[in-house]
């Protein structure tokens, strides 16, 4: 069942229950009250009539005695006269007069008067006669030397009729109340459940892929809080999915570039090899073909080595340990002295121990220096400086080579990006060096700062934490 319906039905039941109970109690109390009041009024009336009758009868008896010597017959007439006078105009009250055993006079129904044969005088009685509720009071008439009993039967039907009327009103009002409540509750329920609908729709939209959807419910109640939490969750989801998509795109791009970098030399190698094995070429062609096979093969080899380096760096964190920066600088100096025809790479260092990893530090600096060499002419100088400043160890590699424009600086660390393809390729590069440098920097939680201008040169700065003394 829908939540709105649940609200409506339970509220309606509550309203009707409360109304019914309340009304019933009131109805009953009212009735009791009215009955009690009516009974007391009747009793009072009875007392008054009795007393009045007694007084008058006494007077009459005296008069008749004086006139007739005996008063019995006349007395009976007087009784009847008074009873009739009481009865006139009162539809609800009927009387009966008894002496000890017999009914002497009555304005009651035969059946009713018969019923009253054994009656009490101590208190009134209520009974049902002819489907009417009656109240009967019997009192002894105070009369010298004779016993008479006067019974008055009061019809209480009105009281009960009143109750029935009130009950009918109760039902009518109840029905109207029910209908009105239902209508009002319907509005209230839909107003209350509207935020829930909103949440539901938002959830559905997000599930369909619209991650920007938010519910933005402003109320401060529990649903408002639910909405806030929901929106926060949606934000998290949106961000995570964006990140994942970005990762995926980067992965795809990487794979695309990588496969291109492999396919291109493959094409050359296969093409030239095919020529060589199909026909007997002239020496010039043969030499050219062989040369290309060799150089493209080397390119593939260099690519695969650097790829392995890049992949082995992976996503993992590395344990940083204390590394002697000076020792690394000396290592680099020796490396370039042996491997490089260029003699113009100069190293300056200051005593310093850094938090790093010796192999990675070496590889990173070597890649940056290699780039500097590739960018520079034979006679240009390259400076590699390492010093301490503000308790941090700074490495700077400065060249006066071709420099880079802004676009190149931004893209420098992208895998396979080469600013000048032909130059890079001719020197055996594949565009991965700076990606490796960036990866190593990330592992050190540090950044590269690149300063470069076309035609003037490039300075690359990198800062590492100084290892605390042990």
């Amino acid at each position: 069942m829908k939540f709105a319906h649940k609200i409506i039905i339970s509220c309606l039941i509550l309203i009707m229950a409360v109304y019914s109970i309340g009304s019933t109690i009131m109805l009953v109390l009212n009735h009791q009250q009215l009955l009690q009041t009516t009974i007391e009024k009747n009793l009072e009336t009875h007392d008054i009539e009795l007393f009045s009758m007694e007084t008058k009868l006494l007077q009459d008896r005296t008069r008749f005695r004086n006139a007739y010597k005996t008063a019995d017959q006349q007395m009976l007439e007087r009784f009847s006269y008074y009873i009739d006078s009481y009865s006139s105009g009162k539809k609800n009250t009927t009387y009966a007069l008894y002496d000890n055993q017999n009914l002497l006079y009555s304005t009651m129904d035969k059946g009713l008067s018969k019923k009253l044969s054994n009656i009490q005088t101590s208190t009134y009685q209520t009974m049902t006669y002819d489907s009417k509720k009656m109240m009967v009071v019997t009192s002894k008439v105070s009369f010298p030397n004779q016993e008479f009993y006067l019974s008055a039967a009061y019809d209480l039907s009105d009281v009960y009729a009143e109750r029935t009327r009130e009950f009918k009103s109760f039902l009518l009002i109840g029905s109207c109340l029910c209908i009105i409540s239902y209508i009002v509750l319907k509005f209230i329920a839909s107003y209350m459940t509207e935020p829930i609908e909103k949440l539901n729709k938002a959830a559905q939209h997000i599930a369909k892929g619209n991650y920007k959807e938010r519910t933005l419910i402003e109320s401060t109640d529990e649903i408002g809080e639910l909405s806030k939490s929901f929106d926060m969750m949606a934000l998290e989801i949106e961000q995570t999915i964006s990140k994942l998509q970005l990762n995926l795109e980067q992965r795809d791009e990487f794979m695309g570039s990588f496969s291109h970098e492999i396919k291109t030399p493959m094409t050359s190698i296969l093409g030239y090899a095919d020529i060589l094995r199909t026909y007997d070429c002239d020496p010039k062609t043969r030499t050219k073909a062989a040369q290309y096979i060799y150089s493209e093969g080397q390119r593939l080899a260099s690519l695969s080595y650097t790829m392995m380096d890049l992949l082995s760096l992976g996503e993992n964190e590395i344990q940083l340990e204390t590394v002697d920066a000076v020792a690394t600088m000396i290592q680099l100096e020796n490396y370039y002295a042996i491997n490089n025809k260029k003699r113009n790479v100069y190293f300056y260092s200051e005593e310093c121990y850094v938090l790093s990893h010796s192999d990675l530090l070496f590889a990173m600096l070597r890649n940056i220096i290699d780039n500097a060499i590739k960018a520079s002419k034979e006679d240009q100088t390259i400076l590699v400086l390492q010093s301490i400043k503000d308790n941090k160890c700074i490495f700077m590699i400065i060249d006066e080579g071709v420099g880079m424009e802004k676009e190149t600086i931004d893209k420098m660390t992208e895998p396979f990006y080469m600013a000048d393809k032909s130059r890079a390729r001719s020197l055996g590069g594949a565009g991965l060096g700076m990606s490796i440098v960036k990866r190593i920097c990330d592992l050190h939680h540090t950044n590269l700062i690149v300063d470069s201008a076309l035609g003037i040169g490039t300075t690359i700065t990198m800062t590492l934490e100084v290892a605390k003394d042990e």
């Binding site: 396919k263 493959m266 050359s268 296969l270 095919d274 007997d280 070429c281 050219k288 493209e296």
Partner: protein
């Protein structure tokens, strides 16, 4: 189309080894080749010269292949894309942009040649007839005529002859020759090759032209350079 005119092909490719490879191969098969290492130079050359075909790489510096394609398309010059971007999406994009064919790296030079000829044939600019010595080879009809008479050659004999003609005046290695004409990597069937060579010699009476080079292979020697 004049018999003497050679087809002019423009190669727009920034990888020099591949550009050289294509140029070498096409020139060997009788095409004239020009080379542009990037999109800008390529556009310039197209403006200056009249080309019969453009071989276009997509990943070029500065102006990429797609941009250059937009420039070439209205000129109605046949274009074949050569690129490492081989996904279906890329191929569809290339063809929808108006390229006549799409070649994915790595490709074999034979495939390249076949596609070049196929595209040129569509534009009726192909070398469809070879005039070699005393025979005329009609590649459309796969017919060889000698002295006005149609020669009865089997499929493989025709293929072999065509291959020899395309690689005339060069010594061809036996194994590779067999592999390429019979399109198989099965080894050790050079007897078949030898037999076919013998039959060709007989049918064409070309004993003096189809020569055996001992220990190496065969060569079709022609002194006339008439072909179109």
């Amino acid at each position: 189309m004049n018999k003497g005119d050679k087809m002019k092909v423009l190669i727009v490719e920034d990888e020099k080894p591949i550009a050289d490879l294509i140029q070498m191969h096409l020139e060997h098969h009788g095409y004239d080749c020009d080379y542009a290492p990037d999109g800008n130079i390529g556009a310039n050359k197209i403006e200056e010269e009249k080309y019969d075909l453009v071989l276009l790489d997509i990943m070029l510096p500065h102006v990429d292949g797609y941009e250059l394609m937009e420039y070439i398309e209205p000129l109605k010059i046949p274009v074949i894309f050569i690129t490492a971007k081989g996904s279906v999406k890329d191929k569809v994009k290339g063809l929808q942009m108006g390229a006549d064919d799409y070649l994915v790296k790595p490709f074999s030079v034979d495939e390249l040649l076949a596609r070049v000829e196929s595209v040129l044939r569509r534009y009726h600019r192909d070398i469809s007839t070879f005039y070699i010595n005393d025979i005329i080879i009609d590649t459309n009809a796969r017919q060889v005529k000698q002295d006005g008479k149609v020669l009865n050659l089997t499929n493989k004999e025709y293929d072999l002859l065509l291959f020899l003609v395309r690689n005339k005046n060069i010594v061809l290695y036996r194994d590779t020759l067999y592999e390429k004409v019979w399109d198989t990597t099965d080894l050790g069937h050079t007897r078949t090759l030898d037999l076919h060579i013998q039959r060709l010699r007989k049918k064409l009476k070309w004993k003096d032209h189809i020569k055996t080079v001992f220990g190496i292979g065969y060569i079709l020697e022609v002194d006339d350079e008439i072909c179109s």
